[in-house]
Symmetry: C2
Subunit: 500 residues, 2 copies
């Protein structure tokens, strides 16, 4: 006993991505970076996922500048990012040279740990990015998307871990984006990986807290030998976010396990984000408390709100229960992909179409691609009849190769398109921004010179709620403009009221 | 393995006591009692604690009628109550005959399980109530208030469990009202009790969720052999409340432990309270998310708000940190009582006085009583110098006997005072109401005939009005959550407006 468990702090990336729609501006993170840097974390997740997209779409921030700033402000920390394998941070597969370039540039700008995953758990979509990371000498983490299906077993996840290790992963991450990982499977998978791949195989566990059980899962993962667990500081935790860092520390007291974390620093980090959070009240997730129904439906929360809004647009809001029942059938037809971006949207949208227009009467291009292998391989077999429909619909043949093998060289083309844009600075970083977000990058290049835009309510506007948060009473006189939570039935809406 | 773990549902008592200031009206519970009755709980906590007080003070409800209604609506369930030992549900010690009468009447009106505790963990204050319960043939549960101090050890709690068993307790409850029970001590104490008192000693574990770690503590308690754990349905859980019932059920999947709970019933119970909760938005606790600082300060959340308001009344809001530092010193002087009603208020108020006026320059009557043994014995020794001051202040001598032994027969006197009141119906139940709440009972007797008053926002009460029911905390109406009925076309929506 007496083992030290390390911690990855999520607040600068997945914490605000999950709770504040990724809207936090760099300037609201800068003042606390020194404390984060000194708190004793194994790594600080601070880039990737949706942050890059949000920077250029909403915040007029150069994501590369954000990365360099983190590097400068946290010289003692491992900076960590989430990378969607061959998709990088975009929504399609990229040709290998683009993947290589992105990884090189990320490393060069300061990234240390690359957590690489694929939505379908197809290791072929992870391989190139991992090799690129290894060439830079940085930490390549192979990632397993945890999911639940009639097919998926502990052995399948352990098999995947073995493949990732053989591929040169320096560590394995079990990534539970929907809070479905219960204590016993958490224990069994970590134990299984340690037994199969060796006791010194570093295992990281990433869980969300939506269902309320995953702090127990972290405890069990630790008992099974997990080396690093992911948490977010308490003032930006829980709900669809993560377990609170401080609770993890306290939970371990007396167990023989301990962390390296400095509680005084944690308190300062907590206080900082408790002050920042109310500024972003308009972006708060509607999910509060816990939601255990997803254990049965296996439909993550974010997917439900998507489907609801699609149904409402079709005046069919009353057919959600039918869609709930359809999702597992569509998922089965598609070979049981994990439900995570983008597979969750693809499966969910097709389920909505099936309910509204008849089974596979209409098929989205993305769903056809999923059925035809253009996103990669799935654990289960796909339904041959649905494949036939997909061929008909998409007018193309199924593939079994690695999807990126169908792509031709594209860097030079992307480069010439990018540098033709007003405001493009001609760097590889800008070309990558364009490559990943061709719709958004032109606008961003054009406005970049105006500097970052903080979409949180300004200090003047939030005097009331910000100071209320700090004294914990929430009972300050209201000064306009004010953001209210308006609950109608079970749904909560953010409404900003300004004097006319 | 394969052991069944039983569950006590808290939503009808401690759930809404912790989250909605005990304001829930019986009529908002009635429609769901059938589902609760059939869900498979070991017991349903539904009475005692602050509910009796709240019924007569705020809801114009006869608490005895509430109890009889629960009995009628849940014929298959064990009804459970929380009883403050010799204090019953009031705030002073009662003479033994009053204790006996209260327990008899509670049993007669339908109570099955009596969870008996004492704020100082002085078993002499628990004994009489336990004996009374045993005479009725109902379930007598002996309770340990869990606390943390430089003195308290696992062995002390196990010792107390042994004393309670010798006293005839049919089960032992570990009651963690401040969410301080971490996983390892949870395991050690349960294990210790099972070893000392026998493996068939029934152990119940009651935890709050304030610090975010206690679902893990329940897991560890179960691993150590706990028989029953307390939870509250998810839609009235977390924060200063309890762990969600559904999360407990899901947590155990695959572990070999299981509950008897029916998930379909749980879903209906959840949906019911999700609908009811917004009605009581004006009474919601200000504490949200998790709060781990109390592990260090050992000052429960409710105590902090008390001390804050006392300081503010004295224009000394800036001296809270000094009071934080003073609380542990005062607690040490008083022999390390657990901090729970009423000891938390007594210690907190004295700490405020010490900071504002000098150390023990002024002493409250209650603190003097605590120092002189009039609340019972504490685990630690009390400071002789402070005892001397208390003698001086209170003009009475310390006692070492059981406090109730100093009382003389009082039932006949209470009875004649009660029946003299307008509206008193002359029953023993009414005499007990008067005995426990002599200030409040007269008003209640006078208005009882008007029938229950639902202080949740009702459509009629709030149409077009910006004032939610006053919550008695002096909050400005403008900054409290307000519930409106908003008619859009022919549909009326209940809209809760809260400063974000």
């Amino acid at each position: 006993m007496g083992r030290t468990v390390d911690v990855t702090e999520l607040v600068l990336r997945d914490g605000h991505q999950s709770l504040l729609a990724t809207r936090m501006a760099l300037e609201d993170m800068v003042p606390i970076c020194e404390d984060i840097d000194a708190a004793g974390y194994w790594s600080v997740e601070c880039w990737g996922g949706a942050t890059y997209d949000s920077c250029i779409r909403f915040l007029n921030e150069d994501p590369w500048e954000r990365l360099r700033e983190f590097r400068r402000l946290m010289p003692n920390s491992r900076l960590q990012m989430l990378l969607r394998g061959q998709n990088l941070l975009g929504y399609r597969h990229y040709e290998d040279a683009v993947v290589d370039r992105f990884v090189e540039k990320s490393a060069e700008n300061g990234m240390d740990v690359f957590r690489v995953f694929d939505a379908l758990n197809d290791v072929r979509n992870i391989k190139r990015a991992m090799e690129a990371v290894r060439r830079t000498g940085k930490h390549a983490q192979g990632t397993i998307c945890y999911t639940v299906s009639p097919l998926h077993s502990v052995a399948d996840f352990v098999d995947m871990a073995e493949q990732l290790c053989e591929m040169g992963a320096e560590s394995i991450c079990i990534k539970d984006m929907a809070a479905l990982l219960k204590p016993q499977p958490a224990y069994d998978i970590v134990k299984g990986i340690k037994e199969r791949c060796g006791a010194d195989t570093r295992v990281h566990v990433h869980v969300h807290s939506t269902t309320g059980v995953t702090l127990v899962s972290l405890m069990k993962a630790i008992e099974a030998g997990a080396d690093v667990v992911d948490t977010s500081i308490s003032s930006l935790s829980l709900g669809p976010g993560h377990n609170p860092t401080e609770s993890l520390v306290e939970m371990l007291e007396g167990t023989g396990y301990k962390t390296r974390l400095d509680k005084d620093r944690l308190l300062r980090i907590k206080d900082h984000f408790a002050t920042v959070r109310p500024k972003y009240a308009a972006f708060e997730s509607n999910i509060v408390g816990v939601e255990t129904e997803i254990f049965d439906s296996q439909i993550p929360g974010g997917m439900i709100s998507n489907m609801e809004s699609q149904l409402r647009q079709q005046d069919a809001g009353d057919r959600l229960r039918e869609v709930y029942a359809e999702v597992p059938r569509v998922r089965q037809d598609a070979g049981y992909p994990p439900l995570v971006t983008p597979s969750s949207q693809i499966v969910g949208t097709q389920a909505v179409f099936n309910v509204l227009m008849g089974k596979y009467k209409v098929m989205t291009g993305e769903f056809a691609d999923l059925m035809l292998g253009y996103y990669g391989a799935t654990l289960g077999e796909r339904d041959p009849n649905v494949i036939a429909r997909a061929i008909e619909h998409a007018k193309k043949e199924p593939i079994t190769c690695r999807p990126a093998d169908t792509l031709t060289s594209e860097w030079d083309n992307l480069r010439s398109q990018a540098i033709a844009l007003d405001g493009c600075n001609g760097t590889d970083e800008d070309v990558l921004t364009y490559a990943m977000f061709p719709q958004v990058a032109p606008g961003f290049f054009g406005t970049r010179a105006e500097g970052p835009k903080n979409v949180g309510a300004s200090p003047v506007a939030t005097t009331g709620s910000a100071s209320a948060a700090s004294n914990g009473t929430g009972k300050q006189p209201v000064s306009s403009p004010v953001v209210y939570d308006i609950a109608i039935g079970e749904k909560t809406h953010k409404v900003t009221v300004t004097p006319a």
